[in-house]
């Protein structure tokens, strides 16, 4: 069990995060660039000092501020993988794999692991000869042979193409499961975080805004800021039952968050909020289409929706349904009440 409750001072803000990760569990720390994600990992690895807090790993205290103690990085048994694989350029693949003082450079474990990682034939090669994906496999193998008690992944595969990234991610998922080590992945791309993690923590400006399953965080963002971070592109004012609920809570200005991927064509009042307005643009996106829809006068009422079929907008008008959208009050917090059957859009108020 990795238990970290850390406060680290940075120039712009203080990073605060409290995380627990069970053996074999995979947590993704998701957030925009500069949110402090890497700082959290570095605090766990002992590379930056804590202002306050503690880190324990399987009952061992790695850092605590009361009483003050901090194990140096080389005694923590915490593995850190960064975007740069960081292989030692003057050592062969074999020597890199077996670098850790506890690893056996000529043991059976090294051979087996290399074969499993698909780098068995590269053992005598120098790192400069390897492709990016192979270098990452070596870096991963090196951590595993060091028998780290926790694995920290700092956007390790963000420079690689999608297929390679996916296969490496699956490899890490399998290995962390096999070895029952807690793992934390830092990601600023949601699909990467979702592909890896069983649990997602959203970090913004140094604060954890929400923790939950990846699906839960995307479908029920705790606040409008979280919704923005996980890809909600439009926030439209809602009327009808939802607005009435908002009145009771204390104000108008309730908005429904519209995620481009959670929109279907046509009016389906039973499944969510019907949005009708003027289509201002339409272009192919992936295997479907992406349409810009303006449902009101305000700047916020411009939404983006991704649809399977090319939308047919008669006279420029288009109606879509945002499936079960989360609603947010004027202060940005999520409202508990859902609003099925609400409608919004021009001429429907």
């Amino acid at each position: 069990m990795l238990d970290a409750d850390v406060e680290v001072d940075r120039r712009e803000f203080t990073v605060r995060a409290a995380l627990t990760v069970a053996p074999g569990e995979r947590l993704a720390l998701f957030g925009p660039s500069g949110a402090g994600k890497t700082t959290v990992l570095e605090a766990i690895a002992g590379l930056v000092p804590l202002r306050r807090g503690h880190v324990t790993l399987h009952g061992r205290v790695l850092t605590s501020t009361t009483p003050a103690r901090a194990l140096p990085p080389w005694q923590r048994r915490v593995g850190l993988l960064r975007q740069d694989p960081g292989l030692f350029p003057h050592m062969s693949v074999r020597d890199n794999l077996g670098y850790a003082p506890t690893a056996d450079r000529h043991g059976a474990e090294l051979e087996e692991l290399a074969a499993m990682l698909g780098i068995g034939g590269l053992l005598p090669a120098m790192p400069a000869r390897l492709s990016g994906g192979q270098q990452h496999r070596v870096a991963l193998g090196r951590l595993l042979l060091a028998h780290c008690d926790a694995l920290l992944l700092d956007e390790p595969y963000s420079g690689l193409d999608t297929a390679l990234r996916r296969s490496l991610t699956e490899l890490v998922v399998r290995l962390t499961g096999d070895r029952q080590v807690p793992a934390i992945l830092v990601a600023h791309e949601l699909p990467d975080a979702q592909a890896f993690a069983g649990r997602l923590a959203v970090l913004d400006a140094g604060a954890v805004l929400q923790t939950g399953t990846p699906h839960e965080v995307v479908l029920r963002p705790a606040s409008r800021r979280v919704a923005e971070l996980v890809g909600y592109l439009g926030f439209v004012p809602v009327n009808g039952p939802g607005a009435a609920a908002a009145d009771r809570i204390g104000g108008t200005g309730v908005v429904a968050g519209v995620h481009p991927d959670r929109v279907i064509a046509g009016e389906h009042p039973g499944r969510g909020v019907v949005l009708a307005g003027t289509m201002t643009g339409c272009r192919p996106s992936g295997a479907g289409w992406e349409a810009d829809l303006r449902v009101g006068e305000s700047e916020e009422s411009a939404i983006v929706c991704r649809l399977a079929d090319r939308p047919e907008a008669a006279g420029g008008r288009l109606a879509v349904t945002a499936l079960d959208p989360p609603c947010f009050g004027p202060d940005g917090t999520a409202l508990a009440s859902r609003a099925p059957g609400m409608t919004t859009g021009m001429g429907r108020a």
Binding site: W74, G79, G86, F88, H90
Partner: protein, 254 residues
Amino acid sequence: MSVAGAAVIWIALLGPVIALLTHLQGSAIASSLTAPGALDPLVTSVEAGVVTLAVLLLVCTPLAWMLARGRLPFPRVWEAGVLCALLLPPLVVGLLLIFLVGPYTPVGELLGHLHLSATNTFLALVIAEVYESAPYYVLGAQAAFAGVDPRLEQQAGLLGDRPRRVFRRVTMPLAAPGLAMSLAIAWARAMGAFGAVIIIAYHPFGIPLQIFTTLQATGLASALPFALVLLVVALPLPLAAYTWSARAGRRRRG
């Protein structure tokens, strides 16, 4: 710039070496180098050079590492100090060393208690050579250490290596080619040290002083063979360092 232009500049730079080789006479070499005690200065120079390199390695390597890794407060001040030492003309360094290690200074008196002296002794020769070569070594070694990615050292630490072991297994091997080059340059400077040497270490004779006194006593023709000796002694180490660091680079490229 064309190849021809580059060749002209290259040949111009090599001019002194070419002149040396074309003006040497076999008979002069034979008579100069076979005189009794003619090669004693060579032994003195090599011995002093080896001691100088050892001192640089032991004393200046840690300083260069600290400069490169920003372990010192006000790093610019430290660097400016090293540059000052580099910019002072060797002759001036020699004059000023009298005030530092001369017989009537605290250091000189301390040495006197130990029955040592830093004027006109082997120790004085080493001190002069260290002062003439150290700035070249420190700046070169600093660049060599700065070229080692600190993240590699960090990674080695996370894999379980103590700092001392990281230094031995990662930092030193990666900085070694650059260190070897700077050491080779320092060696060439130490071998050719003259300005500071002539002030505080006129005796024992090294090769540069041998060249100078021979030139004054018997003229250019008999001085040239000793220049050849200096070249032959000073050059192999830089050449070896160069080929070795090129090999290390090739090996890393796989």
